[in-house]
Protein backbone atom coordinates (compact mmCIF):
# COMPACT_ATOMS: atom_id res chain seq x y z
CA UNK A 1 0.00 0.00 0.00
CA UNK A 2 1.52 3.24 -1.10
CA UNK A 3 1.06 5.92 1.59
CA UNK A 4 1.61 8.94 -0.65
CA UNK A 5 -0.79 7.72 -3.37
CA UNK A 6 -3.37 6.84 -0.73
CA UNK A 7 -3.13 10.33 0.75
CA UNK A 8 -3.41 12.13 -2.56
CA UNK A 9 -6.41 10.00 -3.60
CA UNK A 10 -8.14 10.79 -0.29
CA UNK A 11 -7.38 14.48 -0.72
CA UNK A 12 -8.87 14.63 -4.22
CA UNK A 13 -11.87 12.55 -3.19
CA UNK A 14 -12.51 14.81 -0.19
CA UNK A 15 -12.33 17.89 -2.40
CA UNK A 16 -14.90 16.70 -4.95
CA UNK A 17 -17.24 15.36 -2.26
CA UNK A 18 -17.15 18.62 -0.32
CA UNK A 19 -17.63 20.72 -3.44
CA UNK A 20 -20.60 18.55 -4.35
CA UNK A 21 -19.18 17.66 -7.72
CA UNK A 22 -20.05 14.01 -7.17
CA UNK A 23 -22.53 12.00 -5.13
CA UNK A 24 -20.02 9.29 -4.30
CA UNK A 25 -16.53 8.10 -5.16
CA UNK A 26 -15.74 4.56 -6.29
CA UNK A 27 -12.29 3.55 -5.12
CA UNK A 28 -10.17 0.78 -3.71
CA UNK A 29 -10.66 -0.33 -0.13
CA UNK A 30 -8.79 -2.69 2.11
CA UNK A 31 -10.20 -6.20 1.93
CA UNK A 32 -10.39 -8.65 4.82
CA UNK A 33 -6.68 -9.43 4.72
CA UNK A 34 -3.53 -7.71 3.50
CA UNK A 35 -3.72 -9.42 0.09
CA UNK A 36 -7.36 -8.62 -0.58
CA UNK A 37 -8.76 -5.47 -2.15
CA UNK A 38 -12.40 -4.59 -2.43
CA UNK A 39 -14.21 -1.72 -4.11
CA UNK A 40 -15.61 0.94 -1.80
CA UNK A 41 -18.31 3.50 -2.55
CA UNK A 42 -17.65 6.62 -0.46
CA UNK A 43 -20.56 9.04 -0.14
CA UNK A 44 -19.62 10.78 3.12
CA UNK A 45 -16.46 12.74 3.88
CA UNK A 46 -16.22 10.91 7.24
CA UNK A 47 -15.64 7.64 5.39
CA UNK A 48 -12.80 8.98 3.30
CA UNK A 49 -10.20 6.96 5.22
CA UNK A 50 -11.63 3.79 3.74
CA UNK A 51 -10.04 4.76 0.43
CA UNK A 52 -6.60 3.23 -0.11
CA UNK A 53 -4.13 2.61 -2.88
CA UNK A 54 -3.70 -1.15 -2.71
CA UNK A 55 -0.77 -3.44 -3.44
CA UNK A 56 -2.87 -6.37 -4.60
CA UNK A 57 -5.40 -4.30 -6.52
CA UNK A 58 -6.03 -6.25 -9.68
CA UNK A 59 -9.67 -5.31 -9.97
CA UNK A 60 -11.02 -3.04 -12.65
CA UNK A 61 -13.15 -0.34 -11.03
CA UNK A 62 -14.72 0.65 -14.36
CA UNK A 63 -16.76 -2.53 -13.88
CA UNK A 64 -18.80 -0.82 -11.14
CA UNK A 65 -19.79 2.03 -13.45
CA UNK A 66 -22.06 -0.43 -15.25
CA UNK A 67 -24.51 -0.22 -12.36
CA UNK A 68 -25.05 3.39 -13.43
CA UNK A 69 -25.03 2.78 -17.17
CA UNK A 70 -26.90 5.18 -19.42
CA UNK A 71 -29.87 2.90 -20.04
CA UNK A 72 -30.62 2.69 -16.32
CA UNK A 73 -31.27 6.43 -16.09
CA UNK A 74 -29.64 6.84 -12.70
CA UNK A 75 -29.19 10.48 -11.65
CA UNK A 76 -25.87 10.02 -9.83
CA UNK A 77 -22.72 11.94 -10.46
CA UNK A 78 -19.88 9.52 -9.93
CA UNK A 79 -16.27 9.98 -8.94
CA UNK A 80 -13.97 7.09 -9.77
CA UNK A 81 -10.38 6.24 -9.03
CA UNK A 82 -8.81 4.98 -12.25
CA UNK A 83 -5.40 3.54 -12.92
CA UNK A 84 -4.13 3.33 -16.50
CA UNK A 85 -6.09 0.25 -17.51
CA UNK A 86 -9.27 1.34 -15.69
CA UNK A 87 -9.22 4.61 -17.59
CA UNK A 88 -8.86 2.70 -20.86
CA UNK A 89 -11.88 0.60 -19.87
CA UNK A 90 -13.80 3.81 -19.20
CA UNK A 91 -12.89 4.99 -22.71
CA UNK A 92 -14.05 1.66 -24.12
CA UNK A 93 -17.37 1.97 -22.25
CA UNK A 94 -17.84 5.60 -23.37
CA UNK A 95 -17.24 4.49 -26.92
CA UNK A 96 -20.00 1.92 -26.62
CA UNK A 97 -22.34 4.54 -25.09
CA UNK A 98 -22.60 2.63 -21.84
CA UNK A 99 -21.85 5.60 -19.56
CA UNK A 100 -22.06 9.40 -19.73
CA UNK A 101 -18.84 11.37 -19.56
CA UNK A 102 -20.52 14.42 -18.04
CA UNK A 103 -21.66 12.45 -15.00
CA UNK A 104 -18.15 11.18 -14.35
CA UNK A 105 -15.29 12.68 -12.40
CA UNK A 106 -12.18 10.62 -12.97
CA UNK A 107 -9.36 10.68 -10.43
CA UNK A 108 -6.57 9.28 -12.59
CA UNK A 109 -3.65 7.53 -10.92
CA UNK A 110 -0.23 7.03 -12.44
CA UNK A 111 -0.13 3.36 -11.58
CA UNK A 112 3.24 1.78 -10.79
CA UNK A 113 1.74 -1.69 -11.31
CA UNK A 114 -0.16 -4.09 -9.08
CA UNK A 115 0.78 -7.35 -7.41
CA UNK A 116 -1.05 -10.57 -8.08
CA UNK A 117 -2.40 -13.06 -5.58
CA UNK A 118 -2.31 -15.71 -8.29
CA UNK A 119 1.42 -15.15 -8.82
CA UNK A 120 2.02 -15.12 -5.06
CA UNK A 121 0.18 -18.42 -4.73
CA UNK A 122 2.16 -19.92 -7.60
CA UNK A 123 5.51 -18.85 -6.19
CA UNK A 124 4.95 -19.23 -2.46
CA UNK A 125 2.41 -22.03 -2.17
CA UNK A 126 -0.53 -22.13 0.24
CA UNK A 127 -0.35 -18.75 2.01
CA UNK A 128 -1.46 -18.46 5.62
CA UNK A 129 -0.37 -14.90 6.38
CA UNK A 130 1.36 -12.13 4.51
CA UNK A 131 3.10 -8.91 5.44
CA UNK A 132 5.08 -6.37 3.50
CA UNK A 133 8.37 -4.74 4.42
CA UNK A 134 9.41 -2.13 1.88
CA UNK A 135 9.87 -3.67 -1.54
CA UNK A 136 9.51 -7.23 -0.31
CA UNK A 137 6.63 -9.35 0.85
CA UNK A 138 7.05 -12.17 3.30
CA UNK A 139 4.55 -14.99 3.17
CA UNK A 140 3.92 -17.52 5.87
CA UNK A 141 3.00 -20.67 4.06
CA UNK A 142 2.23 -24.21 5.08
CA UNK A 143 5.85 -25.02 4.20
CA UNK A 144 7.55 -22.16 6.07
CA UNK A 145 8.24 -18.49 5.45
CA UNK A 146 9.11 -17.15 2.01
CA UNK A 147 10.25 -13.71 0.96
CA UNK A 148 9.49 -12.48 -2.55
CA UNK A 149 10.33 -9.10 -4.03
CA UNK A 150 7.49 -6.92 -5.30
CA UNK A 151 8.70 -7.07 -8.89
CA UNK A 152 8.47 -10.87 -8.88
CA UNK A 153 4.87 -10.64 -7.69
CA UNK A 154 3.72 -8.54 -10.63
CA UNK A 155 1.43 -10.30 -13.11
CA UNK A 156 2.49 -10.59 -16.75
CA UNK A 157 0.16 -7.82 -17.89
CA UNK A 158 1.59 -5.29 -15.41
CA UNK A 159 5.15 -6.20 -16.37
CA UNK A 160 4.24 -5.63 -20.04
CA UNK A 161 2.13 -2.50 -19.33
CA UNK A 162 2.59 0.44 -21.71
CA UNK A 163 -0.14 2.66 -20.28
CA UNK A 164 0.72 3.47 -16.68
CA UNK A 165 -0.77 6.93 -17.00
CA UNK A 166 -4.54 7.35 -17.28
CA UNK A 167 -5.83 8.05 -20.78
CA UNK A 168 -8.64 10.33 -19.65
CA UNK A 169 -8.97 11.98 -16.26
CA UNK A 170 -10.16 15.16 -14.58
CA UNK A 171 -7.27 15.17 -12.14
CA UNK A 172 -4.15 13.02 -11.97
CA UNK A 173 -2.29 11.93 -8.84
CA UNK A 174 1.07 10.23 -8.46
CA UNK A 175 4.43 10.78 -10.13
CA UNK A 176 4.48 10.15 -13.84
CA UNK A 177 6.10 6.86 -14.79
CA UNK A 178 8.50 6.38 -17.65
CA UNK A 179 6.94 4.01 -20.18
CA UNK A 180 9.26 1.11 -21.01
CA UNK A 181 11.23 0.81 -24.22
CA UNK A 182 8.88 0.58 -27.21
CA UNK A 183 11.18 -1.91 -28.96
CA UNK A 184 9.94 -4.66 -26.66
CA UNK A 185 6.17 -4.57 -27.10
CA UNK A 186 5.41 -7.04 -24.31
CA UNK A 187 3.96 -9.73 -26.56
CA UNK A 188 7.05 -11.96 -26.67
CA UNK A 189 5.45 -14.71 -24.61
CA UNK A 190 2.55 -14.84 -27.09
CA UNK A 191 4.92 -15.18 -30.06
CA UNK A 192 6.85 -17.87 -28.23
CA UNK A 193 3.64 -19.84 -27.73
CA UNK A 194 2.69 -19.37 -31.40
CA UNK A 195 5.88 -21.17 -32.43
CA UNK A 196 4.95 -24.39 -30.66
CA UNK A 197 3.47 -27.18 -32.79
CA UNK A 198 -0.32 -26.98 -33.24
CA UNK A 199 -1.26 -30.18 -31.37
CA UNK A 200 0.73 -29.00 -28.37
CA UNK A 201 -1.12 -25.67 -28.39
CA UNK A 202 -4.48 -27.44 -28.55
CA UNK A 203 -3.38 -29.69 -25.72
CA UNK A 204 -2.48 -26.63 -23.66
CA UNK A 205 -5.87 -25.03 -24.29
CA UNK A 206 -7.65 -28.19 -23.21
CA UNK A 207 -5.52 -28.74 -20.13
CA UNK A 208 -5.85 -25.12 -18.96
CA UNK A 209 -9.60 -25.08 -19.51
CA UNK A 210 -10.16 -28.46 -17.85
CA UNK A 211 -9.74 -26.69 -14.51
CA UNK A 212 -12.63 -24.31 -15.28
CA UNK A 213 -15.67 -24.75 -13.04
CA UNK A 214 -17.91 -22.35 -14.98
CA UNK A 215 -18.28 -19.91 -12.08
CA UNK A 216 -18.03 -16.98 -14.55
CA UNK A 217 -15.90 -14.96 -12.14
CA UNK A 218 -13.81 -13.88 -15.16
CA UNK A 219 -16.90 -12.50 -16.84
CA UNK A 220 -18.12 -10.70 -13.73
CA UNK A 221 -14.72 -9.11 -13.11
CA UNK A 222 -14.54 -7.69 -16.62
CA UNK A 223 -15.97 -4.25 -17.44
CA UNK A 224 -16.33 -5.03 -21.13
CA UNK A 225 -18.19 -8.28 -20.45
CA UNK A 226 -21.38 -6.31 -19.98
CA UNK A 227 -24.08 -7.89 -22.16
CA UNK A 228 -27.52 -7.96 -20.55
CA UNK A 229 -27.63 -11.67 -21.34
CA UNK A 230 -24.38 -13.52 -21.91
CA UNK A 231 -24.29 -16.02 -24.79
CA UNK A 232 -23.39 -18.72 -22.31
CA UNK A 233 -26.62 -18.19 -20.36
CA UNK A 234 -28.86 -18.18 -23.42
CA UNK A 235 -30.80 -21.42 -23.84
CA UNK A 236 -32.63 -20.54 -27.09
CA UNK A 237 -30.44 -21.23 -29.03
CA UNK A 238 -28.16 -23.12 -26.69
CA UNK A 239 -24.70 -21.97 -27.77
CA UNK A 240 -22.83 -23.81 -25.07
CA UNK A 241 -24.17 -26.72 -23.06
CA UNK A 242 -24.22 -26.61 -19.29
CA UNK A 243 -21.74 -28.88 -17.59
CA UNK A 244 -18.03 -29.48 -17.72
CA UNK A 245 -17.59 -31.16 -21.10
CA UNK A 246 -14.06 -30.20 -22.27
CA UNK A 247 -14.98 -28.66 -25.65
CA UNK A 248 -17.78 -26.66 -24.02
CA UNK A 249 -15.30 -25.23 -21.53
CA UNK A 250 -12.83 -24.36 -24.29
CA UNK A 251 -15.47 -22.82 -26.54
CA UNK A 252 -16.94 -20.77 -23.70
CA UNK A 253 -13.58 -19.13 -23.07
CA UNK A 254 -12.71 -18.79 -26.77
CA UNK A 255 -15.94 -16.96 -27.53
CA UNK A 256 -15.52 -14.78 -24.46
CA UNK A 257 -12.05 -13.90 -25.74
CA UNK A 258 -13.40 -13.28 -29.22
CA UNK A 259 -16.01 -10.91 -27.81
CA UNK A 260 -13.15 -8.96 -26.26
CA UNK A 261 -11.56 -8.25 -29.64
CA UNK A 262 -10.65 -4.56 -29.64
CA UNK A 263 -12.18 -4.05 -26.20
CA UNK A 264 -9.88 -5.84 -23.78
CA UNK A 265 -7.48 -3.42 -22.05
CA UNK A 266 -5.29 -6.14 -20.55
CA UNK A 267 -6.07 -5.21 -16.92
CA UNK A 268 -5.74 -8.82 -15.80
CA UNK A 269 -8.86 -8.72 -13.60
CA UNK A 270 -10.25 -11.90 -15.19
CA UNK A 271 -7.19 -14.00 -14.48
CA UNK A 272 -6.89 -12.62 -10.94
CA UNK A 273 -10.55 -13.39 -10.26
CA UNK A 274 -10.28 -17.04 -11.36
CA UNK A 275 -10.58 -19.31 -8.32
CA UNK A 276 -9.02 -22.20 -10.23
CA UNK A 277 -5.95 -20.30 -11.44
CA UNK A 278 -6.77 -20.78 -15.12
CA UNK A 279 -4.47 -18.75 -17.37
CA UNK A 280 -6.70 -16.42 -19.37
CA UNK A 281 -4.35 -13.64 -20.44
CA UNK A 282 -2.58 -15.84 -23.00
CA UNK A 283 -5.88 -15.79 -24.91
CA UNK A 284 -6.95 -12.17 -24.46
CA UNK A 285 -3.46 -10.84 -25.11
CA UNK A 286 -3.34 -12.80 -28.37
CA UNK A 287 -6.64 -11.18 -29.33
CA UNK A 288 -5.12 -7.77 -28.58
CA UNK A 289 -2.10 -8.61 -30.69
CA UNK A 290 -4.29 -9.73 -33.61
CA UNK A 291 -6.34 -6.55 -33.47
CA UNK A 292 -3.20 -4.43 -33.30
CA UNK A 293 -1.41 -6.16 -36.15
CA UNK A 294 -4.41 -6.49 -38.45
CA UNK A 295 -6.24 -3.24 -37.79
CA UNK A 296 -3.68 -1.08 -35.95
CA UNK A 297 -6.05 -0.66 -33.03
CA UNK A 298 -5.45 -0.62 -29.31
CA UNK A 299 -8.45 -0.67 -26.98
CA UNK A 300 -9.25 2.45 -24.98
CA UNK A 301 -6.27 4.50 -26.10
CA UNK A 302 -7.90 6.79 -28.65
CA UNK A 303 -11.35 8.03 -27.56
CA UNK A 304 -12.20 8.99 -31.16
CA UNK A 305 -11.30 5.75 -32.98
CA UNK A 306 -14.15 3.37 -33.86
CA UNK A 307 -14.04 -0.15 -32.39
CA UNK A 308 -12.28 -2.39 -34.96
CA UNK A 309 -15.17 -4.80 -35.52
CA UNK A 310 -17.69 -1.97 -35.88
CA UNK A 311 -15.92 -0.54 -38.91
CA UNK A 312 -13.95 -1.70 -41.94
CA UNK A 313 -11.51 -0.61 -44.58
CA UNK A 314 -11.84 -1.63 -48.19
CA UNK A 315 -8.18 -2.58 -48.26
CA UNK A 316 -8.26 -4.83 -45.16
CA UNK A 317 -5.95 -7.83 -45.64
CA UNK A 318 -7.73 -10.92 -46.97
CA UNK A 319 -4.88 -13.34 -47.55
CA UNK A 320 -6.86 -16.11 -45.82
CA UNK A 321 -9.80 -15.92 -48.25
CA UNK A 322 -9.95 -18.18 -51.32
Amino acid sequence: MSKSLTNSIREEARKILQEGKVDFVIGYGQGDNSMRTQPVFIDKVEDIDKLVWPSFGLINLANYLLRYRTTRNTPHKIGIVAKGCDSRSIVALLKENQIDRDRLFIIGVNCPGMLSRQVAREKAGEIVAASSNGDKWSFETTEGTKEISCFDLMPSNCVACRHHAPVISDVVVGDSIKEPDVEDDGYDSIREFENKPAPERYQYLMSEMSACIRCYACRQACPTCNCDECFVDITQPKWVDKGLEPTDLAIWQLIRTYHQAGRCVDCGACEEACPMGVKLLWLTRKMNLVVRERFGFEAGVDPEALPPLATYKKEDPQEFIL
Binding site: E245, I251, I255, V290, D316, P317, Q318, I321, L322
Partner: protein, 143 residues
Amino acid sequence: MNDDPKILAFLCNWCSYAGADLAGTSRIQYPTTLRVLRVPCSARVNPQFILKALQEGADGVLVSGCHPGDCHYLEGNYYARRKFATMLDLLEYVGLEKGRVRFSWVSAAEGGKFAEVVKEVTDGVKQVKDTSQFLKKRDWPSE
Protein backbone atom coordinates in the same frame (compact mmCIF):
# COMPACT_ATOMS: atom_id res chain seq x y z
CA MET B 1 -6.55 -39.03 -43.42
CA ASN B 2 -10.24 -38.70 -43.83
CA ASP B 3 -11.58 -39.94 -47.18
CA ASP B 4 -15.19 -38.90 -46.80
CA PRO B 5 -15.20 -35.61 -44.89
CA LYS B 6 -18.34 -33.71 -43.96
CA ILE B 7 -18.04 -30.01 -44.66
CA LEU B 8 -20.62 -27.51 -43.54
CA ALA B 9 -20.88 -24.62 -46.01
CA PHE B 10 -22.46 -21.29 -45.16
CA LEU B 11 -23.28 -19.77 -48.55
CA CYS B 12 -24.64 -16.27 -48.92
CA ASN B 13 -28.00 -16.14 -50.69
CA TRP B 14 -27.03 -13.56 -53.29
CA CYS B 15 -23.67 -14.75 -54.63
CA SER B 16 -22.20 -18.02 -53.44
CA TYR B 17 -25.50 -19.90 -53.26
CA ALA B 18 -26.31 -18.78 -56.79
CA GLY B 19 -22.74 -19.70 -57.79
CA ALA B 20 -23.30 -23.20 -56.42
CA ASP B 21 -26.54 -23.34 -58.36
CA LEU B 22 -24.75 -22.32 -61.54
CA ALA B 23 -22.13 -25.01 -60.98
CA GLY B 24 -25.01 -27.49 -60.79
CA THR B 25 -26.92 -26.30 -63.84
CA SER B 26 -23.66 -26.13 -65.80
CA ARG B 27 -23.03 -29.81 -64.92
CA ILE B 28 -19.64 -29.05 -63.38
CA GLN B 29 -18.32 -31.96 -61.33
CA TYR B 30 -17.16 -31.34 -57.77
CA PRO B 31 -16.80 -33.42 -54.59
CA THR B 32 -19.96 -34.34 -52.71
CA THR B 33 -18.56 -33.34 -49.34
CA LEU B 34 -20.59 -30.18 -48.82
CA ARG B 35 -23.67 -29.73 -46.66
CA VAL B 36 -24.99 -26.35 -47.68
CA LEU B 37 -26.65 -23.90 -45.33
CA ARG B 38 -28.04 -20.81 -47.01
CA VAL B 39 -27.62 -17.53 -45.12
CA PRO B 40 -28.76 -14.04 -46.13
CA CYS B 41 -25.22 -12.63 -46.04
CA SER B 42 -21.74 -13.77 -45.02
CA ALA B 43 -22.02 -11.25 -42.19
CA ARG B 44 -24.91 -13.32 -40.84
CA VAL B 45 -22.40 -16.00 -39.93
CA ASN B 46 -21.61 -15.53 -36.29
CA PRO B 47 -18.16 -17.00 -35.54
CA GLN B 48 -19.92 -19.08 -32.89
CA PHE B 49 -21.61 -20.98 -35.75
CA ILE B 50 -18.19 -22.20 -36.84
CA LEU B 51 -17.21 -23.53 -33.44
CA LYS B 52 -20.65 -25.07 -32.96
CA ALA B 53 -20.31 -26.86 -36.31
CA LEU B 54 -16.92 -28.32 -35.34
CA GLN B 55 -18.35 -29.34 -31.97
CA GLU B 56 -21.29 -31.13 -33.56
CA GLY B 57 -19.12 -33.18 -35.88
CA ALA B 58 -18.29 -31.17 -39.01
CA ASP B 59 -14.83 -32.08 -40.32
CA GLY B 60 -14.57 -28.71 -41.99
CA VAL B 61 -16.41 -25.43 -42.31
CA LEU B 62 -16.59 -23.19 -45.37
CA VAL B 63 -18.01 -19.69 -45.32
CA SER B 64 -18.55 -18.07 -48.68
CA GLY B 65 -19.93 -14.69 -49.66
CA CYS B 66 -19.92 -12.04 -52.35
CA HIS B 67 -16.71 -10.42 -53.52
CA PRO B 68 -15.81 -7.19 -51.69
CA GLY B 69 -17.83 -4.38 -53.21
CA ASP B 70 -20.55 -6.74 -54.48
CA CYS B 71 -22.42 -7.32 -51.23
CA HIS B 72 -26.20 -7.19 -51.65
CA TYR B 73 -26.28 -5.24 -48.39
CA LEU B 74 -23.39 -3.05 -49.62
CA GLU B 75 -20.93 -3.61 -46.79
CA GLY B 76 -21.84 -6.87 -45.01
CA ASN B 77 -18.89 -8.81 -46.32
CA TYR B 78 -16.43 -6.12 -45.26
CA TYR B 79 -17.56 -6.54 -41.65
CA ALA B 80 -17.57 -10.31 -42.09
CA ARG B 81 -13.99 -10.20 -43.32
CA ARG B 82 -12.83 -8.50 -40.12
CA LYS B 83 -14.79 -10.94 -37.94
CA PHE B 84 -13.41 -14.00 -39.73
CA ALA B 85 -9.84 -12.69 -39.72
CA THR B 86 -9.84 -12.25 -35.93
CA MET B 87 -11.62 -15.54 -35.30
CA LEU B 88 -9.38 -17.54 -37.62
CA ASP B 89 -6.24 -16.08 -36.03
CA LEU B 90 -7.55 -17.02 -32.60
CA LEU B 91 -8.47 -20.57 -33.66
CA GLU B 92 -5.10 -21.20 -35.26
CA TYR B 93 -3.41 -19.79 -32.16
CA VAL B 94 -5.10 -22.39 -29.96
CA GLY B 95 -3.95 -25.12 -32.31
CA LEU B 96 -6.85 -25.76 -34.69
CA GLU B 97 -5.40 -27.62 -37.66
CA LYS B 98 -5.04 -25.56 -40.79
CA GLY B 99 -7.61 -26.29 -43.48
CA ARG B 100 -10.59 -27.02 -41.25
CA VAL B 101 -12.06 -23.56 -41.40
CA ARG B 102 -12.00 -21.81 -44.77
CA PHE B 103 -13.42 -18.66 -46.32
CA SER B 104 -14.03 -17.73 -49.93
CA TRP B 105 -15.61 -15.13 -52.18
CA VAL B 106 -17.65 -16.67 -55.00
CA SER B 107 -19.95 -14.60 -57.19
CA ALA B 108 -23.19 -15.76 -58.83
CA ALA B 109 -21.39 -16.00 -62.18
CA GLU B 110 -18.52 -18.15 -60.89
CA GLY B 111 -19.85 -21.69 -61.10
CA GLY B 112 -16.41 -22.86 -62.17
CA LYS B 113 -14.73 -21.12 -59.27
CA PHE B 114 -17.24 -22.64 -56.86
CA ALA B 115 -16.27 -26.13 -58.02
CA GLU B 116 -12.58 -25.23 -57.65
CA VAL B 117 -13.16 -23.90 -54.12
CA VAL B 118 -15.00 -27.06 -53.09
CA LYS B 119 -12.18 -29.20 -54.48
CA GLU B 120 -9.53 -27.23 -52.67
CA VAL B 121 -11.41 -27.14 -49.38
CA THR B 122 -12.13 -30.87 -49.59
CA ASP B 123 -8.47 -31.66 -50.30
CA GLY B 124 -7.51 -29.46 -47.36
CA VAL B 125 -9.87 -31.22 -44.98
CA LYS B 126 -8.67 -34.63 -46.19
CA GLN B 127 -5.14 -33.64 -45.16
CA VAL B 128 -6.25 -32.92 -41.59
CA LYS B 129 -4.77 -35.49 -39.23
CA ASP B 130 -6.99 -35.00 -36.21
CA THR B 131 -10.64 -34.09 -36.79
CA SER B 132 -11.49 -34.78 -33.16
CA GLN B 133 -10.41 -31.27 -32.18
CA PHE B 134 -13.41 -29.45 -30.70
CA LEU B 135 -15.57 -32.54 -31.34
CA LYS B 136 -17.97 -32.84 -28.48
CA LYS B 137 -17.57 -35.94 -26.37
CA ARG B 138 -21.00 -37.32 -25.56
CA ASP B 139 -21.71 -40.22 -23.26
CA TRP B 140 -24.51 -41.40 -25.51
CA PRO B 141 -24.29 -42.52 -29.15
CA SER B 142 -24.90 -39.82 -31.73
CA GLU B 143 -27.87 -40.36 -33.97
